[in-house]
């Protein structure tokens, strides 16, 4: 149905879209402030044009301007977007609508809210297909949607056709939206940051899919992203956007090899390195064990819609054990649904495990009640990702930070203020902010308020649950330094719970990799990255968007599909449904996390390390990995 070889005509070589001197501004009280200035580029047929820029560079505005989706307060202040010989920006709305969704498709960064939550996904794609191709009959249209669902490898597409958006994971939803975009055979697809909300392995799948489909469907793609590693992976040519202007335009390999503009060099330098030139991670601590987690499990009950009075058991955490030593940075990594957030709630005593023990300095926290529990809670603090909701808008910053001291009754009057001010200067907040309300604080400053609030209690263990995920690279680096300084001064132990491999690589001495509620690999930092022992860890590492040579080739490890539902966990090895190396024994026997191999490295896999492909030699070569 697609990709019929078209005859080479003159039209095949002329650009699909031509942007000339496009400028967009935002109308404010002080007149129009420019956001994009003089943007000009062409999109060649059957090519992928990458556009890279940091947040605030205007890349989303640009991507929307390409489909004439600019609404107040934004206004187009000049230039043209030529498509098919006409200027999209000057076409009457009706004709733009006729093009959108048919010849011009757009996919955004927020797959989960892009469709009506109350109507099955397939039906909405069908609705769109019928809207943009009048005259197509129901049966043909339906068949075409299902075919396209198959083409993006959505499993059991017929059934999925009738499922609702909330039943799709983020990655599946993004696939569905790709179907939605491609089902009408568009000439040009604008993909605005589409991998941003996805886990790395899923993002890698989507990228590969997009590349395949681009050939099958004969579509040109404008691929916009803030991650250089991702753009480098998919694009032919790259535009670099800084503050609303194009500063560089080169083929991707040339850009990485010989960037011309300072800003580009800066961008390349900012991409965290995992293998080449990575900062040496801290050595594992030899201090006492502070936290000992043994065989912890947690299961939730959810109602079953299809059976009478029945529940399904969601096994979120299934027998996790590890130890954390004093003054150490312990990392827990995994993708969505792996159980890391449940584990974080268990560790911070917000919930009790159904089985197993969590011992803090030898005391089982489940046995504590009343005063001792409160005291324990003081010594353990949890910092969450969202710096916005955690701070009350009506309370002064000083009061917010003082709150836990008041709750625990630890200080009052002058002493209280002194403590709070000390914590504020420790985290780098000016004490002048004491009496101010938190309005106008940046995300980084808000996170500092949260950190100060945790620090006033002088905790011994800090659990950082995706604490830095919403911050940009620069701010993240500053906070990591801050954590390090605090650790030196106070000897605090940190548990970093994150999906960000590069960050964990940089700061954690020991790392646990979680998959489907289990720790599948537990290792010191260096061996984990150099010679990962579990296929899943290798898959994760092969999928990280970087600009360096990876020791694990995507072709060897890229995962198909998604983790199984924690409701029906496969028998045997729970990773076997996606493992490229699964063999007979994996079907029946559940591998347990083996004993330490002596070098602090253990994995839950029947394969010995030697039976997997050897990691590629890590010689520092050109950054182009294709």
């Amino acid at each position: 149905m697609m990709g019929q070889p078209a005859l080479e005509t003159a039209a095949e070589t002329s650009p699909v879209m031509k942007v000339e001197n496009l400028s967009v501004g935002v109308t404010g009280r002080a007149g129009i402030k420019p956001i994009l200035a003089d943007i000009s580029f062409e999109v060649a047929p059957q090519s992928v044009l990458g556009i890279i820029g940091e947040s605030g560079s205007g890349k989303t505005v640009l991507s929307r301007a390409l489909v004439n989706w600019i609404s107040p307060p934004l206004t187009i202040t000049g230039g043209a977007v030529h498509y098919g010989g006409r200027d999209l920006l000057k076409l009457p709305q009706r004709e733009v609508n006729a093009l959108r969704g048919r010849e011009l498709a757009y996919i955004g960064a927020n797959p989960t809210s892009a469709l009506d939550p109350t109507i099955p996904v397939g039906h909405q794609i069908l609705e769109k297909l019928k809207a943009v191709s009048p005259g197509m009959d129901e049966a043909t249209a339906r068949e075409r949607v299902i075919d396209t669902l198959d083409a993006v490898r959505i499993p059991s597409s017929k059934q999925r056709f009738d499922e609702y958006p909330f039943q799709f994971s983020g990655g599946m939803m993004q696939r569905a939206l790709i179907v939605d975009a491609l089902v009408s055979d568009p000439k040009l697809l604008i993909a605005d940051n589409i991998t941003q909300p996805l886990d790395v392995t899923v993002a890698a799948q989507i990228l590969r899919l997009l590349r395949d489909l681009q050939q099958d469907f004969d579509t040109s793609i404008v691929f916009i992203s803030s991650a250089l590693g991702i753009v480098a992976d998919i694009a032919d040519d790259v535009l670099v956007l800084e503050n609303g202007s194009i500063v560089e335009h080169q083929p991707v390999s040339a850009l990485l090899r010989a960037p011309e503009h300072d800003y580009t060099r800066e961008l390349i330098a900012k991409v965290p390195r995992i293998w080449q030139g990575a900062e040496t991670p801290p050595a594992p601590s030899t201090g006492d064990i502070v936290l000992e987690v043994t065989d912890v499990a947690r299961t939730y009950k959810v109602r079953d819609r299809n059976r009478l009075f029945a529940h399904k058991l969601v096994r979120a955490v299934r027998g996790v054990s590890f130890e954390v030593r004093k003054g150490e940075n312990f990392g827990i990594i995994g993708e969505s649904g792996c159980g890391k957030s449940t584990l974080s709630r268990l560790l911070s005593c917000l919930e009790a495990p159904d089985a197993g023990h969590i011992r803090f300095e030898g005391t089982d926290i489940a046995t504590l009640k009343g005063k001792p529990l409160l005291e324990l809670r003081r010594r353990f603090q949890l910092l969450l990702q969202d710096p916005y909701n955690a701070i009350a808008a009506h309370m002064s910053i000083g009061r917010t930070i003082a709150e836990p001291l008041l709750i625990h009754g630890l200080a009052s009057g002058r002493a209280l203020r002194e403590k709070v001010e000390a914590a504020m200067s420790e985290v780098g907040l000016s004490t002048e902010l004491y009496d101010q309300l938190p309005v106008g604080l940046s995300a980084g400053q808000r996170q500092r308020v949260n950190i100060a609030r945790a620090l006033v209690l002088e905790p011994e263990l800090l659990i950082l649950d995706e604490t830095l995920s919403s911050l940009d690279q620069v701010e993240q680096a500053k906070l990591l330094e801050l954590f390090e300084a605090i650790q030196k001064r106070r000897g605090i132990t940190y548990i970093y719970i994150s999906h960000d491999l590069a960050m964990v690589r940089r700061v954690c001495a020991r790392i646990a990799v979680m998959y489907l509620g289990r720790v599948v690999e537990l290792s010191d930092n260096e061996p984990m990255f150099a010679e990962a022992a579990h296929p899943y860890t290798r898959a994760l590492l092969s999928a990280v968007p970087t600009v360096e040579d990876k020791p694990y080739a995507t072709s060897d490890y890229l995962l198909e599909g998604e983790p199984p539902d924690p409701i029906d966990i496969p028998a045997g090895c729970s990773f076997r449904t996606r493992c490229p190396f699964a063999f007979d024994r994996c079907k029946t026997e559940d591998p347990r996390l083996g004993a330490d191999d002596g070098a602090g490295h253990a994995a839950a896999c029947h394969l010995a390390i030697g039976e997997m492909p050897k990691p590629h030699a890590n010689t520092a070569g050109g950054p182009d990995e294709r």
Binding site: S113, P117, E127, R303
Partner: protein, 329 residues
């Protein structure tokens, strides 16, 4: 399918508990308020001995729990008791006759009284809701689609105007305009369908402001959802996005509002409106019963009202989970 069965089984059993509790509270309250119901039944002329004998006969001297148990048993068989006052023929008899005893058979059965009055109230309520929807749906949708512009203002002004009008006053004005002055419609009592129209309008004036606000807020909010603007870019027309998606999503909070708030308002409204217009529905029956301390009627109406509330909420919740599958059922 399984979820529907489970939903109803669970909600009906929860509902029964709620109704039973309400019944118990009302039953007890009515028995501890001052005033011996025997005096009401038999009137001031009855002697103390007749009073005691009849009370014993009727079981009114038994412990409260036993009385309640008996009452629940009767209700379960469809017997809501008999009025203290109203005769089988319909007139009030209390207080004058029967000075030497009480023959329950001579009093009207509460179930019968309610069965007579209920159709009138249902008709009035149905018509009132229909009128309110007729006004509120177009205004609310227009206001929601044009937030901040003139249709929104009209919606706001209409609803504030309607809210500020006391329904007694609206009733009087309408009677004056539509009935007394022009003779278009009859107003007081009931002798045919046309008697329902003016009271229904009064009811609608009371219900529509809440509806207008709710509809416009809910529509405007759904217009702001990502799926709406993305839908336009996906190539679906504005008309289809609104007609097929925005309104559908807006319906869920509306139905919940209906279950939670409107039913209460409707019941309250019925009482007042029926009283103003001497309209022979449940409201009228109840208000008269309150004045005459006719406890069996009061308690039956209260229990029925709570049952109606429970049932309507159940249906509303079920409909919501059908529209939006994310909702817990």
């Amino acid at each position: 399918m399984a979820f529907a069965i489970e939903f109803f089984l669970r909600r009906i059993s929860q509902g029964l508990v709620i109704v039973l509790l309400v019944a118990f509270v009302i039953f007890t309250l009515l028995r501890i308020v001052p005033g011996d119901p025997m005096r009401i039944i038999l009137g001031p002329m009855a002697s103390q001995t007749t009073l005691e004998e009849t009370a014993k006969e009727l079981g009114l001297r038994d412990p409260m729990l036993i009385q309640f148990g008996r009452f629940v048993g009767e209700v379960a068989t469809g017997d809501l008791g008999r009025s203290y006052i109203r005769g089988v023929q319909g007139g009030s008899t209390g207080g004058s006759q029967d000075a030497d005893g009480f023959d329950p058979e001579s009093r009207a059965s509460v179930a019968g009284l309610i069965a007579n009055a209920l159709p009138y109230s249902l008709m009035l309520a149905g018509l009132g809701i229909a009128f309110a929807l007729l006004v509120a749906v177009p205004i609310g949708i227009a206001a929601g689609l044009n937030a901040g512009r003139w249709p929104d203002k009209i919606g706001l002004y209409t609803s504030s105007l309607f809210v500020s009008l006391p329904n007694i006053w609206v009733g009087v004005v309408l009677i004056f305009l539509l009935s007394a002055k022009t003779g278009w419609l009859p107003a007081i009592g009931y002798r045919g369908f046309e008697y329902t129209i003016i009271p229904a309008i009064v009811l609608a004036v009371e219900l529509s402001p809440v509806m207008i606000r709710a509809i416009s807020v809910s529509v405007a909010q759904n217009l702001g959802e990502t799926f709406y603007s993305v839908g336009l870019v996906r190539g679906i027309s504005r008309r289809d996005m609104i007609g097929k998606h925005v309104l559908r999503n807006a319906a869920v909070p509306l139905m919940n509002l209906f279950g939670a708030q409107m039913i209460g308002m409707l019941l309250g409204g019925l009482f007042v409106v029926e009283y103003i217009f001497s309209y022979p529905g449940i409201g009228m029956l109840t208000i008269n019963a309150v004045f005459q301390r006719d406890f069996p009627i009061i308690q039956a109406v209260a229990i029925l009202a709570s049952a109606a509330l429970v049932i309507i909420n159940m249906l509303v919740d079920f409909a919501s989970t059908l529209i939006d599958r994310r909702l817990k059922f």
